[in-house]
């Protein structure tokens, strides 16, 4: 069963022109794909459709075998918990420490802190934020925020990872390290979608599919 399936999906905002047209593709479990295209091509919009935070104007979006149009709120929440998201603008909560931000997806599921504490600390150390556990996001650098946002997406061991420009604020060596993390995640069973227009990053991993958006349409390169 595909993790994500789009069939002839179109989207327009209000009465404007379609920003996405006849998009059809599927994302298999344990697959790795780069979503790319020029700025404004609709990468973030496509990610939001995959995250069920936008409804298509036409066509069919299926997530983990569930058609998006037929989901109730509880089911949407359940499906969203199987997805990890890295936002382009990080979206860390400024009044929570790095540790609390990373632990947030587990906390909102009602889990006891003692059950995930070691796991969160371990992941923070792995992304190089072991010394920044108690720090509030306004004090973190852009790269550190990026890594905290990635750690927050990974902490739930998602079946689908959506990352919007996850290496946009880090140096090349850390970008390579983060990419290696995403590849390991894919090998352990997660389907990974990385939106980027960093050609260098895409060249680092040959085994990825390339979903290229342009003029509202998608071209797929295996």
């Amino acid at each position: 069963m595909d993790v994500v399936r789009f069939e002839n999906v179109g989207l327009r905002y209000g009465l404007g022109p379609e920003v996405l047209r006849d998009i059809s593709f599927s994302i298999a479990p344990r697959s790795f794909q780069f979503l790319t295209g020029p700025s404004g091509a609709g990468k973030t919009t496509l990610m939001r459709l995959m995250l069920l935070s936008l409804k298509p104007t036409r066509g069919l979006v299926t997530l983990f075998g569930h058609e998006a149009g037929n989901l109730d709120k509880d089911m949407m929440t359940t499906l969203r918990r199987r997805v990890g998201v890295v936002f382009q603008d990080f979206r860390l909560l400024d009044h929570l420490t790095t540790y609390e931000n990373v632990a947030l997806p587990l906390r909102v599921q009602g889990r006891e802190e003692s059950s995930y504490r070691a796991e969160v600390v371990e992941l923070l150390r792995w992304v190089g934020l072991g010394e920044r556990i108690h720090v509030l996001p306004p004090v973190l650098s852009g790269g550190e925020k990026q890594r905290a946002a990635i750690a927050r997406a990974l902490i739930v061991r998602p079946e689908l990872l959506l990352a919007d420009e996850p290496t946009g604020n880090v140096d090349p060596s850390l970008a390579r390290r983060l990419l290696r993390l995403f590849v390991e995640l894919q090998k352990s069973g997660t389907a990974v979608v990385i939106a980027t227009h960093d050609l260098g990053l895409m060249d680092m991993f040959d085994g990825a599919h390339r979903l290229v958006l342009g003029d509202g349409r998608m071209h797929i390169y295996e």
Binding site: L51, R107, V108, A118, R125, I133
Partner: protein, 314 residues
């Protein structure tokens, strides 16, 4: 020992602070507390005023309704004092009448002093005698029609005044005053709810990002709404209690000032109009309830805003 074990064993058991998912301190939050405190204070003053006016009007009605008078006019060839004493005796025998006071000539003349001035010789004037009757505590209603007939028969020239006309007017006036007080209170409460609702919306505007993030990381709608409702109800309680305490203190100080002033003629006038400025436990309870109700409004409002925002996201 691994880094993680080291971290955990080095006192990091409190890694997650008891931090709420909604920021505890914000300018909008503080402004909301102040708005709620002020609105609660104003509503408390209005409610307290309405309670005082309502109680005072009950007192006016009660004291007037419990009193009746018999007027015995002078008739040539009859000793008016004897006639007044006879009318007093008749009144004492009526069931339901407790206290009967027959005013003497001097006392009757003194009643005229406010209109005629003092120092006048009223001896030549046919000043009627007054008999003031008070109902007893049994609550039994005296048969005034029968009393009136007996007085007409036994004491010619006497008339019984049960203040019905005056009482009717007083009841209308007192009811009007209470209704006006209630209308003012209703207006203040409506304004208060609207002001608090808009202030809550304003304070919530800065939290949209948090709702979005919680939603995206898999928080259920009810979980997010609970977080905000708890936080905003806390702010509402803080403001509500502040305003209610300030309102209660205002009435307590007014009561103390009124009791200190009570010995003066002005104080007597105020006391006869508004009573003792004492709200009593029920009055203070009502003020506290206003604060609690506002806290509830704030919490419910924040919950509604969260659900509306989440419906947009869904």
């Amino acid at each position: 020992m691994s880094d993680t074990q080291l971290a955990l064993s080095s006192g990091q058991s409190g890694l997650r602070r008891s931090e709420s998912l909604v920021p505890a301190e914000s300018i909008a939050g503080r402004a909301l507390v102040i708005v709620i405190a002020i609105m609660t204070f104003l509503a408390a003053l209005t409610a307290g005023g309405a309670i005082l006016v309502s109680r005072a009007s009950q007192d006016w009605r009660g004291s007037v309704a419990r009193e009746m008078t018999i007027q015995v006019r002078q008739i040539a060839g009859r000793d008016v004092d004897v006639a007044a004493a006879k009318a007093g005796d008749i009144a004492r025998k009526v069931a339901g009448i407790g206290e009967v006071k027959v005013y003497t000539k001097a006392e009757s003349e003194r009643l005229l002093e406010p209109w005629l001035g003092s120092g006048l010789d009223l001896g030549q004037l046919p000043v009627p005698r007054l008999i003031v009757m008070k109902l007893d505590e049994s609550g039994a209603k005296p048969d005034l029609a029968a009393l009136r007939q007996v007085l007409m028969r036994e004491v010619p020239g006497s008339s019984l005044d049960d203040h019905a006309l005056w009482l009717d007017r007083l009841v209308v006036m007192a009811n009007s005053v209470v209704i006006i007080a209630l209308v003012v209170f209703a207006l203040v409460v409506t304004t208060m709810i609207l002001a608090v609702a808009f202030a809550t919306r304003g304070a919530m505007a800065g939290n949209r990002e948090i709702i979005d993030v919680l939603h995206m990381v898999g928080a259920a709608d009810a979980f997010i709404a609970d977080q905000f409702q708890r936080h905003f109800m806390g702010l509402g309680l803080k403001g509500g209690v502040l305003g209610a305490v300030a309102g209660a203190l205002a009435f307590a100080f007014a009561g103390m000032a009124a009791s200190m002033w009570a010995a003066s003629p002005g104080g007597d006038q105020v006391e006869s109009l508004f009573g003792t400025f004492s709200l009593g436990w029920s009055g203070y309870g009502a003020i506290l309830m206003i604060g609690l109700a506002l806290a509830l409004v704030t919490g419910v409002m924040s919950r509604m805003i969260v659900f509306r925002h989440l419906n947009g996201l869904n």
